[in-house]
Symmetry: C2
Subunit: 436 residues, 2 copies
């Protein structure tokens, strides 16, 4: 072997970053590998838009199949995103004996079982560091150096758009819609932000992390997913007053052979390790039985950071090719024959502390009504705040509970919302007091 | 191959942790590898002390050579520490065609060139994740997923003993000697703490990180190394008043083909990512040209976290053996043929901001004398504080400078210390305002 040929499917933002790594750091990669790594084909439906990088026009084509059928290409980078045609292309690359590097969390969260099985049969790599946490080397950390651990839990801030919006809401006191609009104008949020702000993107990433950490296949549709669109600036201010920060957390836990896998706005104490991960930064905190807590943080998105992750995977595949071994590590950290099929605990069974916010008529006895119902459901209160009193208007009451069962919380809130003194629907936000 | 046999040299604290990983997570490792990983021999001069783990007495021996010559052993874990006999044993393991996993930063910082050359010739791995940052997967991150980056800089808090002492000094206001004594009683500091508190252990780790990040061999003796024993609680309080925290930082920078590699007490703004790494935690912040800043933190020492790192390396070696490839990655991230020999910039050439602390006679004109001399050496002042005025006693004056050349600072302080109004020797601490 005198060089390694790479084909790129998808010449968008990250694809452009990948081209830049080849151009700026190709010499470095060659030194590290001992032979050249060459980008020989790029396929995209749009090959005319100026991406700000100069590419030999001969590399560009709209024909993905020609790239996938090119026998000289050993590694295919898939940066198309979405389910189709990405799934078809990835499976075709595998069937052609090519190694695949992808940033496509949606694809792997939904069709990972099919793709990883095909790759294992074909003896090729499917690597996906860029799918979670942008440039943060979290996937390889779990698969490689932390692999002697049984993981208890993982906590991730995995969506830069949400984290940017929540940070701005906290800093400026603006409401969700206002900040979202600004984020869209700045290019930090998509025109249709649903995947990001409703937590779906985070849930895709959590599915992959849970699979890796807990050695299980994860049914993506079983992951409880709640986004940030109902969070108000008022809740963030209350959180602050209680010493908490509000983050969209991906939470994975292993509990007696059952896993928790959930994505929702979460309050964490302001002194906790993830509390100061602000703006577009991402971070993951893992807790393993030997390593204890480990935190990795960095740029969770962006062309350059994500390209770093993609190219790290390409080098890993190239090292497999250079050293002549079959895939050095299984795609999901263990061979598919030992992948478990653990079920995800229903949300009604989880135990958490809760932030509860009500709008009530400002009249005597209201608090007694609320606490009476909470008591009936074995929910005990840690602290209470009733900060803004405006005569004749609805006033907020905020309670922080001790640990309670989610089904009890739901039942209690349903009953409380039926009371005449309660205005509108109450809101609850889960609290993580122990990141272990 | 139906199993992989491992030999352990050194049955101390970390060795005990390694035995525990084999015992508690052996099934997990077997699942991930597809075959058993077995600890078949343990050699230590002391095989009678109870380590709190039950080991088959047949595994234990005082004869390291018998272990090194056992043809059934494919992987040797070296946890003896220090230069000799560790060096001899590691070289012998390599010459026997065995892969080596070690936590020995002192050995590799001093004799790495010899050991890595021998390993490359023999086609075996020398892996050392546990040598830097305890359980934090920093070495593998640099070698593997971040390897497409050119690194600009690295900043590390790499010694738990120093960080614990500085954290306690900051929290309790106690002086170095008091906290050190307490740390020794608690087992957080050695009876002879020189290697830790004088920065030597940190410098060993920095040598390895600089080699990996900048693709160069590093002359350990050229690393400027200054420990924390001269830091006073007063300086930490002043730092706090200026909005800074004091840490023992390992600093590596690439600057026009010359590297900076230095270890010294450093003030960093309290909002900076490393500022809240407290107690026995370690952290490393790297800045790469594509990935941008990445931070990894976790337990920097301790039996279990370090054993996690050791066993992660053992699994990596085992995967090489299972997949039948020669070492998957070069020990220092690139083949030895392309390792550079960059020189370390002399300290007199570095540019930094500085914290300067003088004790002076409390009389008019003193500040003018000091600032006059600083001005003569092109050192400009950002802020000044003269907090405690006690009649007839020496009073402290503290200055924070803008960026200045270290040789100018040294010359100015020499001249200032000669003035009659100055009592004792002045002190300076470098400031990092930009962790990029």
């Amino acid at each position: 072997m005198d060089k390694i040929n790479v084909g790129l499917l998808g010449f968008g933002t990250i694809g452009t970053g990948v081209v830049e790594v080849f151009q700026k750091n190709g010499d470095l990669l060659q030194e590290r590998l001992g032979l050249p790594l060459e980008l020989v084909r790029i396929a995209d439906l749009d090959i005319t838009t100026d991406r700000g990088v100069t590419v030999d026009p001969g590399l560009l084509s709209t024909d993905a199949d020609a790239l996938l059928e090119d026998p000289s290409i050993q590694v295919v980078i898939e940066l198309i995103g979405g389910y189709e045609p990405a799934r078809t292309f990835v499976l075709k690359a595998i069937s052609q004996g090519k190694h695949v590097v992808t940033a496509n969390k949606a694809l792997l969260a939904k069709h990972g079982d099919e793709i990883f099985a095909a790759a294992e049969s074909a003896g090729v790599n499917v690597m996906f560091e860029a799918a979670v946490g942008g440039g943060i080397p979290i996937i390889s950390a779990i698969k490689e150096n932390l692999c002697a651990n049984r993981f208890h839990s993982l906590f991730g801030i995995l969506n830069g758009t949400c984290n940017y919006i929540l940070t701005r809401m906290a800093d400026d006191g603006d409401d969700f819609e206002t900040v979202l609009k600004d984020a869209q104008e700045k290019g930090y949020a998509e025109a249709d932000p649903t995947f990001d702000v409703e937590g779906i993107d985070t849930a895709h990433k959590l599915a992959l992390l849970c699979g890796l950490c807990f050695g299980t296949s994860v049914d993506f549709d079983s992951i409880y997913t709640e986004g940030i669109s109902k969070v108000t600036a008022l809740d963030i201010q209350f959180a602050d007053a209680f010493g908490y920060k509000l983050k969209l957390l991906a939470i994975g836990k292993m509990d007696n052979g059952e896993i928790e896998a959930r994505v929702h706005p979460t309050m964490i104490p302001e002194s906790y390790p993830l509390a100061d991960i602000d703006g577009v930064f991402n971070a993951v905190r893992l807790v393993g039985d030997f390593v204890g807590p480990v935190l990795l943080s960095g740029h969770g998105a962006g062309s350059e950071a994500t390209a770093s992750a993609v190219m790290g995977d390409v080098v890993s595949v190239a090292r497999d090719l250079v050293t002549g071994c079959s895939p050095h590590s299984p795609a999901m950290a263990c061979p598919r024959s030992v992948v478990r099929d653990l079920s995800i605990k229903p949300m009604s069974d989880i135990v958490s502390s809760y932030y509860l916010r009500f709008f009530v008529n400002d009249q005597p006895g209201v608090l007694g009504t609320i606490t009476g119902i909470l008591g009936k459901y074995q929910i005990s209160i840690e602290s209470m705040m009733q900060p803004h009193r405006h005569e004749a208007e609805a006033v907020p009451i905020v309670l922080m509970t001790h640990e309670a069962n989610e089904s009890n919380i739901q039942a209690a809130l349903t009953e409380i919302d039926r009371q005449d003194v309660i205005q509108g629907e109450s809101l609850f936000i889960r609290i993580e007091n122990r990141l272990d």
